[in-house]
């Protein structure tokens, strides 16, 4: 692998990600770990540079947690026929919100009893346009079972598949900068927010502002799922940690009277 100067930012981001994942306090200590290949770090390091796109069913343990635990709690709190709102932010080119939709259809027995709204947001209008188009390559589908691909996608050419119109129509896309409350607030309150692998790239101040915005966008008792290297406890005390069998997630306390 080789990277030009133009890719410097990309390289820095990947290294920063690995430093957080290994709890390295400095580049020097991370570099020492890499040189010694501690706990197979060389492989993790290489993967960090090759997995540069998202894909369907990424971190599917959180999707299991969604249908096993989170929605059950939300339904218990809201009632058996209440609408459920889920937010995927940032949604990039759509793999995450469409994954949520497919996962619910395949794995949540109550899917027909509830009005479900999935909102998918990103700051980048170009990726939002791609997400709306719903056209994906082989790599994006690599973790989906063949029968799921056959059920929800139609092939378009040798290495491209388009997600069914029913699913494309079931996700609402909006442009959002999550550090701007004037952009986050119009999206309303959600039962579950997926905000994975973005806060890690913010500075401390921006992380705190984003956390408060996301807090406001959650129903009291609603959940937020972060990326596996991220911890809300290090960013903001506004949320409770909830540990489930499949994932650690964060919850807006049900009784808070603000926000």
């Amino acid at each position: 692998m080789s990277f030009s100067d133009a890719k410097r930012y990309y390289v820095e981001r990947r290294i920063a990600e690995r430093m957080v994942a290994t709890a390295a306090l400095s580049f020097a200590s991370y570099f020492a770990r890499l040189r010694m290949d501690l706990d197979g770090e060389v492989e993790h390091f290489v993967n960090a540079f090759t997995v540069n796109e998202t894909y369907f069913y990424r971190e599917d343990h959180q999707l299991r947690c969604l249908t096993t635990n989170l929605l059950a709690e939300r339904v218990a709190a809201k009632g058996p026929s209440a609408a459920i709102r889920i937010w995927s932010v940032p949604c990039s080119t759509g793999e995450e919100p469409y994954s949520i939709a497919i996962w619910l259809l395949e794995n949540w027995p109550l899917v027909d009893r509830h009005e479900i709204e999935i909102v998918a947001s990103d700051i980048d209008t170009a990726v939002l346009e791609k997400a709306r188009e719903g056209l994906f390559g082989k790599r994006a589908l690599m973790r989906l079972p063949t029968e799921i691909v056959a059920k929800y996608f139609t092939p378009e050419g040798p290495d491209a598949w388009r997600i069914l119109a029913d699913l494309r129509d079931s996700v609402r896309f909006t442009q959002v900068n999550i550090v701007k409350p004037e952009e986050t607030r119009p999206n309303g309150r959600f039962d579950v927010v997926f905000c994975r692998n973005v806060l890690i790239y913010f500075d401390d101040a921006s992380r705190r502002i984003a956390a408060e915005n996301l807090y406001e966008n959650l129903e009291p008792g609603g959940f937020i799922c972060l990326g596996h290297t991220e911890s809300m406890s290090r960013i903001s005390p506004l949320f409770e940690v909830r540990r489930f069998a499949d994932a650690i997630v964060y919850r807006r306390p049900p009784g808070e009277r603000h926000g």
Partner: protein, 215 residues
Amino acid sequence: MPLIRKSATPAAASPPDAAKVPDAANVLEALASGTEEERWEAARAAPGIPGAAKALADAAKRETSPGVREAMFTALTRIASPESVEQLVPLLRSDDAWLRTAALDSLRAMKSLVGPYVPNLLHDANSDVRLLACELAREQPGKESAALLCELLETEQEPNVCASAVEVLAEIGGPEALPVLARCEERFRGVSFLEFAIRITADRIRASSSPKPRA
């Protein structure tokens, strides 16, 4: 195939409308005497309002809701001005540990604004303040901070403050810190946790500054 439908209506409960321009007087009044919801809203709206830093710091001192207090400190961080630093620095001396920590976190996020305050804070009469100032030094440019921390270590009498400085030097210190660490270890002979911390730090600095063999 079952269909996941788009909701035809907007979410019943929405967060407050951020597009509304906050009225400065109302925000300051709400910070001082509003309901919990009003205080949260005021804290979120405060950045950009003249005089907000002082009002936020005053309100944070008496705030009882942890969530609202957090929003007040985030607002002070967003303001990121000499005025907000001036309001936060005295809170490092608070008897309330939560206030001290919250002020520290906010100041750490305002690195360049805080830099000029660090030398004085490292010489503060209050050892708790000196200890927290070591954390602020961590965020400053490496060489300058290392020099300040070395200077502190030469005279500091409180082992906990020394430990805090040593911990930061483990990250940012160079070979010039080694003799200072040795003298500090000598002065605190018998204080086992500090001796241990100094040895680890010195080893780290030696390891990171010795020439690496080519692979």
